[in-house]
């Protein structure tokens, strides 16, 4: 009998062509742990040629593919398509070049985000985008979703640090966008490819810009008796003319979870904590920290803790960076939301989220990039309870609609993926979406690259299923960085 995957199978040795259900299960979900889908097969290429040949096979046979790094997507962007294959890129993990003179690195898509900074460190350089999952997530995934992180207020998102991309498009064509210079001529195709959520093709080589490591950090953790006070403090910091490297808030429930997961030792009894980090030359930090402390003293912080050294700085950040996965400590299941509101409406947005949560009788923890109005409500539920996921999703949808109603966005950094595809129309009109569809069709005329994602309505008859009864482990848990028990 004709095996439609026979030609694909012939491209790989048996240990890198997975078809047994037990092997596929590990690829069945991503950090949107509520959903799972098993693909027909998973391939694990080790070379660029294997990736190109795989995509060309998929194009010729009209088989859907999902490129996947470490599967940390919080919007279901790397969830498999049941009828298609997964191209697991973790083995394309070489740093091909590190050029400290021109301050750039060329990497394969499977390189772990944090590894880039680790490799650049001996040269006094670093790679700035720092999503919370950076010990696990890959550059290819970061490019696909234009990942952010706590430090993008000052430094921007992934796209701002990508100078060039070599990719195989869904048509099978291999293209090169951008280059090695900090400046570009002509339309920014590299920028267009970033954040395209895997719908255009697969990035094979990515040229990243590296920045000098900041000489000096001044990291402050402040405890507040109310979320409102913490929010007011943010407004005051901004108004003082400072440009912090990071400005983050966590609420009481998020603090409780982080404490349970990583024992970060945040101020006891805090309804909210604010993390402010200044970075730059030591002389500038000397000046700026006086300004910062004057502002914080004027705010209603009941405790202000300053990191005295790198270790204390790491401890402060560990609590914040563990938050998304740490809520697994206090709830069997959760949805990590991602919305943006204008900063001046942050307080109002949090109050509304509180009201909506109480109305729905669902607990919501809040973590957010206060500097840019990017909220991460963590909606807690128990998947074993009938209807709980559905109710959680309804609440998630109402929060998104609130964000759009305030003039914000349905996603600040996690992308649309599977999770929010039906909300794209709340932000964009029919002609806007038609334009995006035409652009997508240029790269992927057969609709095989990560179908069923980003655009409203399903491109397939079978979408990923709600993983009822499956307690999905967050990839950071799988990697042993965070533990539930």
């Amino acid at each position: 009998m004709h095996d439609p995957l026979a030609k694909l199978k012939a491209l790989y040795p048996a240990d890198r062509f997975l078809q047994a259900d037990s092997q596929l299960a590990a690829y069945g979900s991503d950090a949107l742990t509520a959903f799972q889908a098993l693909p027909r097969a998973v391939v694990l290429p080790e070379t660029v040629a294997e990736v190109i040949n795989t995509v060309r096979f998929c194009h010729d046979e009209r088989i859907a593919f999902v490129a996947r790094g470490s599967g940390t997507s919080l919007s279901g962007g790397s969830l498999p398509v049941a009828d298609g294959i997964v191209i697991g890129l973790n083995r394309l993990n070489r740093i091909l070049e590190l050029d400290p003179q021109n301050r750039l690195a060329v990497v394969e898509p499977g390189v772990i985000n944090l590894r880039v900074s680790q490799a650049a460190l001996p040269h006094g350089l670093h790679y700035a985008p720092d999503p919370s999952s950076q010990q696990v997530c890959t550059i290819g995934g970061n490019v696909a979703f234009n990942s952010g992180g706590a430090h993008c207020l000052k430094y921007g998102m992934t796209a701002n640090h990508v100078l060039g991309i070599k990719a195989v498009l869904a048509t099978g064509e291999v293209v090169t966008f951008g280059g090695r210079s900090r400046e570009q001529l002509g339309p920014d195709t590299t920028g267009l490819f970033c954040g395209s959520e895997g719908l255009f093709g697969v990035a094979l080589e990515i040229t990243l810009r590296l920045l000098p490591r900041a000489e000096s950090f001044h990291t402050v953790l402040a405890g507040y008796r109310s979320l409102e006070d913490a929010g007011d403090a943010v407004a005051q910091v901004i108004e003082s003319g400072l440009l912090p490297g990071a400005l983050e808030i966590m609420d009481a429930l998020a603090i409780e979870a982080a404490e349970a997961a990583v024992a970060c030792g945040y101020p006891a009894g805090a309804e909210a904590v604010l993390i402010v980090e200044l970075e730059g030359p030591r002389e500038v930090i000397e000046c700026q920290r006086e300004t910062l402390h004057a502002v914080l003293a004027d705010s209603h912080a009941f405790q202000i803790r300053v990191a005295a050294n790198a270790a204390e700085r790491t401890t402060i950040w560990t609590g914040r960076k563990s938050a998304f996965s740490a809520v697994g400590r206090i709830s069997p299941d959760f949805i990590v939301q991602d919305g943006v509101v204008p900063r001046c409406r942050l307080g109002e947005a949090l109050r509304q989220i509180g009201d909506l949560a109480r109305e729905a009788k669902i607990r919501v923890a809040n973590v957010f990039h206060a500097g840019d109005g990017n909220l991460h409500p963590l909606i807690l539920y128990d998947g074993r309870e009938p209807g709980a996921l559905a109710r959680a999703e309804v609440l998630a949808g109402r929060i998104l609609e609130m964000c759009v109603g305030m003039g914000g966005s349905i996603t600040g950094e996690h992308g649309i993926g599977l999770e929010k595809r039906d909300y794209l129309e709340t932000m964009f009109s029919a002609p806007d979406i038609a334009t995006m569809r035409r652009v997508r069709a240029t790269f992927d005329p057969r609709g095989i690259a990560n179908p069923g994602k980003m655009f409203p309505g399903s491109d397939l008859t079978d979408g990923p299923q709600a993983a009822s009864g499956l307690r999905g482990l967050h990839p950071l848990e799988q990697a042993g960085i965070v533990f539930r028990q």
């Binding site: 400046e183 001529l185 002509g186 267009l192 943006v340 600040g412 932000m427 995006m436």
Partner: protein
Amino acid sequence: MLEPNSLAALQDAVRGHRCVLAVGGRSKPRLSQVDDCTLLSMGGLAGITEYQPSEYTFTALAGTPLGELAQVLAGHGQAIPFDPLLVKAGSTLGGATAAGLAGPGRFRFGGIRDFILGIRYVDGAGQLIRAGSRVVKNAAGFDLPKFMVGSLGRLGVLYELTFKVFPTTAERLSLRVRCTDHRQATGRLIEAARARWELAALDYLPSERWLLLQLAGPQPAIGQIAADIGLRWPGDVEPIEPSTAAACWETIRGLGIPQPEVVPDGTGMRGTGMGGNGADEKGPFNNPPVVIQIVLTPTLLPDLQLALAPLEDVHVHYSVGGNVATVVCRQPREAAALGYCLTKLRLTGMVLAGPDAPLWLGVCNRSAIGRAIQTALDPQHRFPPFASPTPR
């Protein structure tokens, strides 16, 4: 040339003509020099439509002159972080975005692509299309705003744009670093770009072998950092007197080449060139030079200098840490020779002024996919092609 003064008039103008191209201040005239095309002046579509300083964003119509915008922002202690070019020559928000080029202050935080958040533009069918958003962070939808940066008006007519801004720093300090030759200058350029100093601008004037550094931040911090720079290259570093420095950076933003003033002690500088403020300045359309912007990596600087050496009456300035070169050819025939040099070095240049020069010099990256995306955005082919004369 038409000048629509409303969105409806703009949409009608686009639909009503076979080929259209929006123009702003025409400070980079070669970019809009297209045959058989109706030009649409965006001067009637100007003004800030939304600005809340606490949000660190503004939204303005494409025809808004950048000078006016900068003044409004300055009133609230904010500035356009990519340091736009040709502000005095009348560049506009839409025109700057379409050209995709920024000034020396781009070195610190990034260029136009790093600050654009959202757009509304009129496509070839006359529809108003939105992409991106008005808030500082947005991951919804494809990043068409970035794609429009550098698109030269060939993909649509930018109508309204939203940008992120940063707080401004009132205190600035500029230094000049003397170098013995281009190799030493390149080494120092690279070192300065990697140093802890967090420079606001880093340029190189090869005719004098001077690095030009700018620091921006609080005093006494920047003075202390300047002293530290002086210790790094003892005897070669000196401060530039503030008003001379300001004039020099203004010249660079005007795509002119700073030239040393002939004064008894030879320490001053004045500018001349496209938008400069030198005493012998001619307007951009009298005796037009050819002005080209080239992108490169700093390590290629010595090779480019070597390649340019045989050309006559060619003036060069390097900006953005050696990632951008502005070349001013006083003899138009040298533009062709420059093109040959760039091709040999695998570099690309875009001609900003010079009516007889082609739009592109050197290597061109116009691929099939680029043309296909252009067709996807403009199925009616309402806007002119990018006109790359040398296929790769």
